[in-house]
Symmetry: C2
Subunit: 201 residues, 2 copies
Protein backbone atom coordinates (compact mmCIF):
# COMPACT_ATOMS: atom_id res chain seq x y z
CA UNK A 1 0.00 0.00 0.00
CA UNK A 2 1.26 3.46 -0.90
CA UNK A 3 0.60 6.44 1.35
CA UNK A 4 1.00 10.15 0.69
CA UNK A 5 3.83 11.37 2.89
CA UNK A 6 3.34 14.26 5.22
CA UNK A 7 6.51 16.02 6.35
CA UNK A 8 5.77 18.76 8.88
CA UNK A 9 7.18 22.17 8.02
CA UNK A 10 6.24 24.10 11.14
CA UNK A 11 8.89 26.35 12.69
CA UNK A 12 9.58 23.85 15.44
CA UNK A 13 9.97 20.96 12.98
CA UNK A 14 12.40 22.97 10.87
CA UNK A 15 14.38 23.99 13.97
CA UNK A 16 14.64 20.39 15.10
CA UNK A 17 15.82 19.32 11.65
CA UNK A 18 18.43 22.06 11.63
CA UNK A 19 19.65 21.02 15.08
CA UNK A 20 20.13 17.42 13.94
CA UNK A 21 21.91 18.53 10.74
CA UNK A 22 24.22 20.70 12.78
CA UNK A 23 25.00 18.40 15.69
CA UNK A 24 25.01 14.85 14.33
CA UNK A 25 26.78 12.90 11.58
CA UNK A 26 25.18 12.84 8.10
CA UNK A 27 24.56 9.10 8.52
CA UNK A 28 22.54 9.79 11.68
CA UNK A 29 20.66 12.63 10.04
CA UNK A 30 19.64 10.37 7.14
CA UNK A 31 18.75 7.49 9.47
CA UNK A 32 16.60 9.83 11.58
CA UNK A 33 14.68 11.02 8.54
CA UNK A 34 14.25 7.45 7.25
CA UNK A 35 13.01 6.48 10.71
CA UNK A 36 10.32 9.16 10.47
CA UNK A 37 9.20 7.94 7.06
CA UNK A 38 9.08 4.29 8.16
CA UNK A 39 7.22 5.32 11.32
CA UNK A 40 4.81 7.45 9.34
CA UNK A 41 4.03 4.58 6.96
CA UNK A 42 3.61 2.25 9.95
CA UNK A 43 1.10 4.64 11.48
CA UNK A 44 -0.88 4.72 8.23
CA UNK A 45 -0.79 0.97 7.71
CA UNK A 46 -1.58 0.03 11.31
CA UNK A 47 -4.11 2.87 11.58
CA UNK A 48 -2.48 4.27 14.70
CA UNK A 49 -3.77 7.82 15.30
CA UNK A 50 -0.84 10.15 15.74
CA UNK A 51 0.19 13.80 15.62
CA UNK A 52 2.56 13.93 12.64
CA UNK A 53 4.51 16.88 14.01
CA UNK A 54 5.17 15.13 17.33
CA UNK A 55 6.10 11.94 15.50
CA UNK A 56 8.51 13.90 13.30
CA UNK A 57 10.10 15.58 16.33
CA UNK A 58 10.58 12.27 18.13
CA UNK A 59 12.03 10.48 15.10
CA UNK A 60 14.27 13.27 13.87
CA UNK A 61 15.72 13.80 17.36
CA UNK A 62 15.83 10.15 18.49
CA UNK A 63 19.62 9.84 18.14
CA UNK A 64 20.50 13.38 19.27
CA UNK A 65 22.24 11.78 22.27
CA UNK A 66 25.08 10.86 19.89
CA UNK A 67 25.97 14.56 19.61
CA UNK A 68 29.09 15.48 21.54
CA UNK A 69 27.25 18.51 22.86
CA UNK A 70 24.70 16.34 24.66
CA UNK A 71 27.02 13.56 25.81
CA UNK A 72 26.34 13.57 29.57
CA UNK A 73 26.54 10.80 32.12
CA UNK A 74 23.39 8.87 31.22
CA UNK A 75 22.81 6.25 28.53
CA UNK A 76 22.72 8.03 25.17
CA UNK A 77 18.98 7.44 24.77
CA UNK A 78 18.24 9.33 27.99
CA UNK A 79 20.81 12.10 27.45
CA UNK A 80 19.18 12.49 24.03
CA UNK A 81 15.66 12.46 25.45
CA UNK A 82 16.63 15.19 27.92
CA UNK A 83 18.29 17.30 25.24
CA UNK A 84 15.31 16.94 22.91
CA UNK A 85 12.76 17.81 25.60
CA UNK A 86 14.74 20.88 26.70
CA UNK A 87 15.17 22.04 23.11
CA UNK A 88 11.51 21.56 22.21
CA UNK A 89 10.21 23.32 25.32
CA UNK A 90 12.55 26.20 24.44
CA UNK A 91 10.95 26.24 20.99
CA UNK A 92 7.48 26.45 22.53
CA UNK A 93 6.30 22.83 22.62
CA UNK A 94 3.95 21.93 25.49
CA UNK A 95 5.32 20.01 28.50
CA UNK A 96 2.98 17.13 27.66
CA UNK A 97 4.23 16.97 24.07
CA UNK A 98 7.84 17.17 25.20
CA UNK A 99 7.26 14.32 27.68
CA UNK A 100 5.87 12.11 24.92
CA UNK A 101 8.92 12.87 22.77
CA UNK A 102 11.10 12.12 25.83
CA UNK A 103 9.48 8.71 26.21
CA UNK A 104 9.73 7.90 22.50
CA UNK A 105 13.45 8.70 22.50
CA UNK A 106 14.29 7.12 25.87
CA UNK A 107 12.52 3.88 24.92
CA UNK A 108 13.56 3.57 21.28
CA UNK A 109 16.04 0.75 22.06
CA UNK A 110 13.82 -1.07 24.58
CA UNK A 111 12.68 -4.26 22.83
CA UNK A 112 9.19 -5.48 23.55
CA UNK A 113 8.32 -2.47 25.69
CA UNK A 114 8.16 0.51 23.32
CA UNK A 115 6.18 -1.63 20.85
CA UNK A 116 3.47 -2.04 23.49
CA UNK A 117 2.95 1.66 24.11
CA UNK A 118 0.82 3.83 21.84
CA UNK A 119 1.19 6.76 19.44
CA UNK A 120 4.63 8.23 18.86
CA UNK A 121 6.36 5.99 21.42
CA UNK A 122 5.26 2.87 19.58
CA UNK A 123 5.74 4.31 16.08
CA UNK A 124 9.23 5.69 16.72
CA UNK A 125 10.28 2.21 17.80
CA UNK A 126 8.65 0.61 14.73
CA UNK A 127 10.44 3.17 12.55
CA UNK A 128 13.82 2.38 14.12
CA UNK A 129 13.23 -1.35 13.75
CA UNK A 130 12.19 -0.92 10.12
CA UNK A 131 15.42 0.93 9.37
CA UNK A 132 17.50 -1.85 10.95
CA UNK A 133 16.09 -4.85 9.17
CA UNK A 134 12.70 -5.14 10.82
CA UNK A 135 9.27 -5.14 9.23
CA UNK A 136 8.74 -2.29 6.79
CA UNK A 137 5.58 -0.43 5.94
CA UNK A 138 4.42 1.43 2.85
CA UNK A 139 4.77 0.25 -0.73
CA UNK A 140 7.93 -1.31 -2.16
CA UNK A 141 8.29 1.80 -4.31
CA UNK A 142 8.15 4.05 -1.31
CA UNK A 143 10.70 1.98 0.58
CA UNK A 144 13.00 2.10 -2.42
CA UNK A 145 12.67 5.88 -2.69
CA UNK A 146 13.42 6.29 1.02
CA UNK A 147 16.71 4.42 0.65
CA UNK A 148 17.74 6.21 -2.53
CA UNK A 149 16.88 9.68 -1.28
CA UNK A 150 18.55 9.12 2.07
CA UNK A 151 21.64 6.93 1.65
CA UNK A 152 22.58 4.77 4.63
CA UNK A 153 26.19 6.06 4.75
CA UNK A 154 27.23 3.08 6.89
CA UNK A 155 24.80 4.02 9.67
CA UNK A 156 25.30 0.73 11.57
CA UNK A 157 29.00 1.47 12.02
CA UNK A 158 28.57 5.18 12.69
CA UNK A 159 25.90 4.70 15.34
CA UNK A 160 27.47 1.73 17.13
CA UNK A 161 30.88 3.35 17.06
CA UNK A 162 29.62 6.59 18.57
CA UNK A 163 27.67 4.85 21.34
CA UNK A 164 30.64 2.60 22.17
CA UNK A 165 33.16 5.45 22.18
CA UNK A 166 30.97 7.53 24.48
CA UNK A 167 30.63 4.59 26.86
CA UNK A 168 34.29 3.56 26.87
CA UNK A 169 35.18 6.86 28.53
CA UNK A 170 32.05 6.93 30.72
CA UNK A 171 31.06 3.37 31.66
CA UNK A 172 27.95 4.64 33.47
CA UNK A 173 26.52 5.30 30.01
CA UNK A 174 26.33 1.56 29.33
CA UNK A 175 24.49 -0.29 32.12
CA UNK A 176 24.62 -4.05 31.43
CA UNK A 177 20.92 -4.59 30.73
CA UNK A 178 20.72 -1.94 27.99
CA UNK A 179 21.50 -1.57 24.30
CA UNK A 180 24.66 0.49 24.95
CA UNK A 181 25.69 -2.19 27.49
CA UNK A 182 25.18 -4.90 24.92
CA UNK A 183 27.25 -3.02 22.31
CA UNK A 184 30.10 -2.48 24.77
CA UNK A 185 30.05 -6.13 25.88
CA UNK A 186 30.16 -7.34 22.27
CA UNK A 187 32.93 -4.89 21.42
CA UNK A 188 34.88 -6.05 24.49
CA UNK A 189 34.70 -9.70 23.49
CA UNK A 190 35.39 -8.99 19.82
CA UNK A 191 36.76 -5.54 19.02
CA UNK A 192 35.96 -5.74 15.33
CA UNK A 193 35.34 -2.44 13.69
CA UNK A 194 32.07 -1.81 15.50
CA UNK A 195 28.99 -1.81 13.43
CA UNK A 196 30.14 -4.33 10.88
CA UNK A 197 26.81 -5.93 11.52
CA UNK A 198 23.43 -4.41 12.19
CA UNK A 199 22.80 -3.21 15.70
CA UNK A 200 20.70 -5.79 17.51
CA UNK A 201 17.45 -4.36 18.73
Amino acid sequence: MSYPVEIPSTDIAVSALELVMQETAPAIMNHSMRTYLHAYFAGQELEIPVDSELLFLACILHDIGTAGKYNGSQRFEVDGADAAARFLIGEGLSEAGADLVWQAIALHTSPGIAERRTGIVQLTRLGVRADFGGRRYGSADQQSIVERALPRLDIEAVLANTVIQQALTKPEKAPPASWPGLLVAEFGSNPHPPGTRSPVF
Copy 2:
Protein backbone atom coordinates in the same frame (compact mmCIF):
# COMPACT_ATOMS: atom_id res chain seq x y z
CA MET B 1 15.41 8.57 59.10
CA SER B 2 12.56 6.31 60.20
CA TYR B 3 9.15 6.47 58.55
CA PRO B 4 5.84 4.98 59.65
CA VAL B 5 4.96 2.29 57.16
CA GLU B 6 1.67 2.30 55.37
CA ILE B 7 0.53 -1.03 53.93
CA PRO B 8 -2.70 -0.69 51.98
CA SER B 9 -5.46 -3.07 53.05
CA THR B 10 -8.10 -2.25 50.47
CA ASP B 11 -9.89 -5.14 48.79
CA ILE B 12 -7.85 -4.75 45.64
CA ALA B 13 -4.54 -4.69 47.54
CA VAL B 14 -5.50 -7.85 49.42
CA SER B 15 -6.56 -9.58 46.20
CA ALA B 16 -3.26 -8.69 44.54
CA LEU B 17 -1.32 -10.02 47.51
CA GLU B 18 -3.31 -13.25 47.45
CA LEU B 19 -2.65 -13.63 43.72
CA VAL B 20 1.10 -13.28 44.22
CA MET B 21 1.07 -15.74 47.15
CA GLN B 22 -0.84 -18.22 45.04
CA GLU B 23 1.02 -17.94 41.75
CA THR B 24 4.67 -17.19 42.56
CA ALA B 25 7.45 -18.75 44.65
CA PRO B 26 7.77 -17.69 48.32
CA ALA B 27 11.11 -16.04 47.50
CA ILE B 28 9.38 -13.85 44.91
CA MET B 29 6.51 -13.06 47.25
CA ASN B 30 8.95 -11.88 49.93
CA HIS B 31 11.05 -9.93 47.43
CA SER B 32 7.92 -8.22 46.11
CA MET B 33 6.88 -7.15 49.59
CA ARG B 34 10.41 -5.96 50.43
CA THR B 35 10.40 -4.02 47.15
CA TYR B 36 7.24 -2.22 48.26
CA LEU B 37 8.76 -1.31 51.61
CA HIS B 38 12.00 -0.04 50.05
CA ALA B 39 9.99 1.90 47.47
CA TYR B 40 7.73 3.34 50.14
CA PHE B 41 10.73 4.52 52.19
CA ALA B 42 12.29 5.99 49.05
CA GLY B 43 9.13 7.95 48.36
CA GLN B 44 9.16 9.35 51.89
CA GLU B 45 12.85 10.21 51.86
CA LEU B 46 12.90 11.72 48.38
CA GLU B 47 9.52 13.39 48.96
CA ILE B 48 8.01 11.90 45.83
CA PRO B 49 4.23 12.25 45.98
CA VAL B 50 2.63 8.89 45.33
CA ASP B 51 -0.59 6.92 45.77
CA SER B 52 0.40 4.20 48.27
CA GLU B 53 -2.17 1.76 47.00
CA LEU B 54 -0.97 2.05 43.39
CA LEU B 55 2.65 1.77 44.53
CA PHE B 56 1.76 -1.35 46.50
CA LEU B 57 -0.01 -2.90 43.51
CA ALA B 58 2.93 -2.21 41.20
CA CYS B 59 5.54 -3.54 43.61
CA ILE B 60 3.65 -6.59 44.80
CA LEU B 61 2.86 -7.60 41.21
CA HIS B 62 6.16 -6.57 39.58
CA ASP B 63 7.43 -10.15 39.16
CA ILE B 64 4.06 -11.78 38.41
CA GLY B 65 5.46 -12.58 34.95
CA THR B 66 7.46 -15.36 36.60
CA ALA B 67 4.20 -17.25 37.23
CA GLY B 68 3.71 -20.22 34.91
CA LYS B 69 0.13 -19.07 34.39
CA TYR B 70 1.26 -15.80 32.80
CA ASN B 71 4.25 -17.10 30.86
CA GLY B 72 3.39 -15.92 27.36
CA SER B 73 5.60 -15.00 24.43
CA GLN B 74 6.84 -11.62 25.62
CA ARG B 75 9.70 -10.74 27.98
CA PHE B 76 8.60 -11.61 31.51
CA GLU B 77 8.33 -7.95 32.51
CA VAL B 78 5.75 -7.30 29.78
CA ASP B 79 3.85 -10.57 30.22
CA GLY B 80 3.72 -9.61 33.90
CA ALA B 81 2.62 -6.04 33.18
CA ASP B 82 -0.20 -7.35 30.98
CA ALA B 83 -1.31 -9.89 33.58
CA ALA B 84 -1.25 -7.27 36.35
CA ALA B 85 -3.21 -4.71 34.32
CA ARG B 86 -5.85 -7.27 33.31
CA PHE B 87 -6.19 -8.51 36.88
CA LEU B 88 -6.44 -5.02 38.37
CA ILE B 89 -9.01 -3.81 35.84
CA GLY B 90 -11.01 -6.94 36.66
CA GLU B 91 -10.82 -5.92 40.32
CA GLY B 92 -12.16 -2.45 39.50
CA LEU B 93 -9.01 -0.33 39.12
CA SER B 94 -9.23 2.56 36.64
CA GLU B 95 -7.65 2.21 33.19
CA ALA B 96 -5.30 5.08 34.03
CA GLY B 97 -4.20 3.42 37.27
CA ALA B 98 -3.72 0.10 35.53
CA ASP B 99 -1.59 1.76 32.83
CA LEU B 100 0.69 3.29 35.45
CA VAL B 101 1.09 -0.12 37.08
CA TRP B 102 1.77 -1.55 33.60
CA GLN B 103 4.56 0.96 33.03
CA ALA B 104 6.06 0.41 36.49
CA ILE B 105 6.21 -3.35 35.91
CA ALA B 106 7.29 -3.25 32.27
CA LEU B 107 10.13 -0.82 33.05
CA HIS B 108 11.36 -2.24 36.35
CA THR B 109 14.49 -3.74 34.73
CA SER B 110 15.23 -0.76 32.45
CA PRO B 111 18.32 0.93 33.90
CA GLY B 112 18.48 4.70 33.68
CA ILE B 113 15.01 5.02 32.18
CA ALA B 114 12.58 4.01 34.95
CA GLU B 115 14.59 6.14 37.41
CA ARG B 116 13.85 9.19 35.29
CA ARG B 117 10.08 8.78 35.29
CA THR B 118 7.91 9.91 38.22
CA GLY B 119 5.67 8.41 40.90
CA ILE B 120 5.19 4.67 41.02
CA VAL B 121 7.27 3.98 37.89
CA GLN B 122 10.33 5.62 39.45
CA LEU B 123 9.71 4.26 42.96
CA THR B 124 9.14 0.66 41.89
CA ARG B 125 12.52 0.75 40.17
CA LEU B 126 14.20 2.30 43.21
CA GLY B 127 12.60 -0.41 45.38
CA VAL B 128 13.88 -3.19 43.11
CA ARG B 129 17.37 -1.68 43.04
CA ALA B 130 17.37 -1.32 46.83
CA ASP B 131 16.52 -5.00 47.21
CA PHE B 132 19.38 -6.00 44.91
CA GLY B 133 22.22 -4.11 46.49
CA GLY B 134 21.39 -0.55 45.45
CA ARG B 135 20.86 2.47 47.65
CA ARG B 136 18.44 1.86 50.51
CA TYR B 137 16.08 4.26 52.20
CA GLY B 138 14.56 4.41 55.68
CA SER B 139 16.45 3.88 58.94
CA ALA B 140 18.96 1.07 59.50
CA ASP B 141 16.50 -0.44 61.98
CA GLN B 142 13.75 -0.46 59.39
CA GLN B 143 16.00 -2.04 56.80
CA SER B 144 17.00 -4.71 59.28
CA ILE B 145 13.36 -5.46 60.15
CA VAL B 146 12.48 -5.75 56.45
CA GLU B 147 15.13 -8.42 55.94
CA ARG B 148 14.27 -10.35 59.10
CA ALA B 149 10.51 -10.28 58.55
CA LEU B 150 10.82 -11.24 54.88
CA PRO B 151 13.74 -13.65 54.41
CA ARG B 152 15.45 -13.54 51.03
CA LEU B 153 15.08 -17.31 50.41
CA ASP B 154 17.77 -17.19 47.73
CA ILE B 155 15.80 -14.72 45.61
CA GLU B 156 18.70 -14.04 43.20
CA ALA B 157 18.79 -17.72 42.20
CA VAL B 158 15.04 -18.20 42.13
CA LEU B 159 14.37 -15.14 39.99
CA ALA B 160 17.24 -15.58 37.54
CA ASN B 161 16.53 -19.30 37.21
CA THR B 162 12.86 -18.74 36.43
CA VAL B 163 13.53 -16.02 33.85
CA ILE B 164 16.23 -18.13 32.17
CA GLN B 165 14.14 -21.30 32.10
CA GLN B 166 11.19 -19.44 30.57
CA ALA B 167 13.48 -17.97 27.90
CA LEU B 168 15.32 -21.18 27.07
CA THR B 169 12.11 -22.69 25.75
CA LYS B 170 10.87 -19.42 24.22
CA PRO B 171 13.85 -17.39 22.98
CA GLU B 172 11.56 -14.52 21.97
CA LYS B 173 11.22 -13.83 25.71
CA ALA B 174 14.86 -12.71 25.87
CA PRO B 175 15.67 -10.07 23.24
CA PRO B 176 19.40 -9.28 23.36
CA ALA B 177 19.16 -5.70 24.66
CA SER B 178 17.07 -6.63 27.72
CA TRP B 179 17.60 -7.99 31.21
CA PRO B 180 16.29 -11.46 30.29
CA GLY B 181 18.62 -11.37 27.26
CA LEU B 182 21.56 -10.51 29.47
CA LEU B 183 20.75 -13.37 31.87
CA VAL B 184 20.47 -15.87 29.04
CA ALA B 185 23.74 -14.68 27.46
CA GLU B 186 25.59 -14.99 30.77
CA PHE B 187 24.06 -18.39 31.41
CA GLY B 188 25.09 -19.51 27.92
CA SER B 189 28.70 -18.49 28.43
CA ASN B 190 28.88 -19.86 31.97
CA PRO B 191 26.06 -22.19 32.96
CA HIS B 192 26.73 -21.91 36.68
CA PRO B 193 23.71 -22.46 38.85
CA PRO B 194 22.01 -19.26 37.78
CA GLY B 195 21.66 -16.58 40.38
CA THR B 196 24.82 -17.39 42.29
CA ARG B 197 25.43 -13.69 42.06
CA SER B 198 23.03 -10.80 42.24
CA PRO B 199 21.10 -10.01 39.10
CA VAL B 200 22.76 -7.09 37.35
CA PHE B 201 20.38 -4.19 36.98
